[in-house]
Amino acid sequence: MSSRGHLQPWIAFLGLFAAVALPLDAADAWRLLPREGVPGWIVILALAVAAYASVRAEKSALTAILLAFASSAGAWAALDLLPGLAGHTGPGFWALLFTSWLLAWALVSQLAAIKPRAGPAGFGLKLLVPLLFGAWLLIFWQVIVVAFQVPSVLIPPPSAIWAKLVSSIPILAADFRQTFLKAVIAGYVIGCGSGFLVAILVDRIPFLQRGLLPVGNLVSALPIIGIAPIMVMWFGFDWPSKAAVVVVATFFPMLVNTVTGLAASQPMQRDLMRTYAANYWQSLFKLRLPEALPFIFNALKINSTLALIAAIVAEFFGTPIVGMGFRISTEVGRMNIDMVWAEIAVAALAGSVFYGVIALIERASTFWHPSFRA
């Protein structure tokens, strides 16, 4: 990585040169970055200084600040120029964008190399890096959609999605309440809980282990899609039927992982329990469950995203006229793709926070696992 770290600024210089020398506008050869006035020069200077700084001192706070300033100035300039260039962007524009991105990546590498620290500073850093990454994802999305004039009924630009999101907060909130707070949470708790309990049951009663597990695999491998219409038939249109789909979807991963996890302890650790003549529950709670925790958390994490998808999909099969899945399917039909993406953004945010919370709990309760000790 360190060798690439040295290469990056040099490529950035090349890119900067291209950004200065080549036209921004494919239709106007004389539209050059230096002729954009003071802002143009600020951007050029900022990029040059930051690239130079990262050649001289690869890792320093000053370099980081310069990189941050330069890459955001470059990105800001590109986005500012963009509307006027829709459909006829020139090579200079792409060079500018590419150079800014390269410096942003250099910044990310630098931030990622910082040793993790405790406290709010460390937490902020942990958030900052993926946010930078995501911001650039959005920038590229915006640029590509606008530059190539992709019809907005196919993919709208992030700016339009943001505008829609801000103007539709009451609707989005109502959908979120219906789908996430009611269906997902209830289904997730019941699904993971019952998967866990059945795993214990199966573990406890060898007869079930041999009888129920194969049949259970069969039943619980039912595709959620097929389950959804049946659940609507059985549990009605409102959220309970969606929760039921979530239950079915989350059950299997939990069962498989818990059963695997319960078998994960070392032979010598089990022998130790034998020497204490520990009964089933004692060795379960004191040895096998702690040892199974990493597996259980694996299931909880996979399920956290699966639950949301399942609930949304289930709403395609009949629902009252509120809910994230309802909104998505309806607005696609209405060609309001920006609303669809606003809803997806809410879903992604909710899902990520959900996942993040579980990952935090995992870290706190399985700190002893080698994967966290390193």
Binding site: P151, S152, V153, L154, P229, V232, M233, G236, F237, E315, F316, F317, G318, T319, P320, I321, F326, S329, T330, V332, G333, R334, M335, N336
Partner: protein
């Protein structure tokens, strides 16, 4: 041969018999066309497909087409094989519903995904809120089938004369226990299953010519289907890739569809168009289907070129 791709709004069924017949009977071939028919489904918005370049021509309902037009997909109606609307609301009698005045406080099943516009227009006309409450109706997004009515989860559900209504009867509920409200009868009918293309393409005379051939052959297909109900139903069945359709149901559907296509030679009737637009504009509400009177949303250029009078 000249390739043409047609995107249907729904799955392979007798609703689209004209196109399948034209293809099987070689009417397209005779015009020098090589037509690919893409079935649709509940998750396919033909408007989106054509905007993405996945089809040359689509069948869709006019409300959805006009809404798309406002959203920047300039669709133009070039032909209208369906004269009448097949939409209706089917209620169980035991709910006490006798007329639209009794809808208040009831639960109604509605199709969304761009199919809800006629319903919204109707409710607006009746002055009923769709947000529930004592002075409104509770709306359910209805799934793919008629279960909500059979299982009494809804008081009324949306049906097409040719499809879902037959399923309700199949489920063992006799007509005597049902009461139906046709959109045609309520004066809120909108045009269904027209043929639409992208506006810019029509600037090319060669394209107009190709579409004229397509429309001419398709209308021949529809005429044939009207004349030979059973054979047309069989042709549809053969083209169904899922192998899930039953012959009885397709025959029923063909019969009902024929009643709706009767009276159209393919040429859009301006009066029907005006009525549809008026209905939609009157709907109003918070999220109106269309906000202003559309222009250039239809043309007779193709049907004229095809010699349909």
């Amino acid at each position: 041969a000249d390739p043409v791709t047609l995107q249907l709004k729904w799955v392979t069924q007798a609703q689209f018999a004209g196109y399948y017949v034209a293809k099987e009977k070689g009417f397209y071939e005779a015009e020098g066309l090589d037509v690919t028919i893409k079935p649709g489904g509940p998750d396919i918005a033909p408007e989106q497909v054509i905007a993405g370049g996945g089809a040359d021509i689509i069948t869709t309902w006019m409300p959805a087409a006009l809404a798309s037009r406002e959203k920047g997909v300039p669709l133009v109606n070039i032909a209208q094989p369906y004269k009448k609307s097949g939409m209706m609301l089917t209620c169980r009698k035991d709910t006490g519903i006798k007329s639209p005045d009794d809808f208040k406080g009831k639960t109604l099943g509605v199709w969304f995904y761009g199919n809800e516009y006629p319903f919204l227009a109707w409710m607006a006309k009746l002055g009923l809120s769709t947000e529930g409450g004592p002075n409104g109706v509770t709306v359910l997004k209805q799934g793919f089938n008629v279960d909500p009515l059979i299982q009494k989860q809804a008081d009324c559900i949306s049906t097409m004369t040719y499809n879902e209504f037959g399923q309700v009867l199949d489920a063992g509920i006799p007509e005597s226990e049902l009461i139906v409200f046709k959109y045609e009868d309520q004066g809120v009918a909108t045009l269904e299953d027209g043929l639409y293309v992208m506006e810019d393409k029509l600037k090319d005379p060669a394209f107009v010519e190709k579409m004229a051939k397509f429309v001419r052959a398709s209308m021949k297909g529809w005429d044939y289907a009207r004349a030979n109900t059973d054979e047309a139903a069989k042709i549809v069945l053969e083209n169904d890739e899922t192998g899930a359709q039953t012959e009885a149901h397709q025959k029923f559907m063909m019969g009902e569809v024929n009643k709706l296509t009767e009276g159209s030679n393919g040429k859009l009737d301006e009066a029907d168009y005006t009525r549809t637009v008026k209905t939609l504009l009157s709907a109003g509400g918070e999220a109106p289907v269309i906000t202003k009177e559309p222009t250039g949303a239809w043309t007779h250029a193709v049907t004229d070129a095809a010699g349909l009078k």
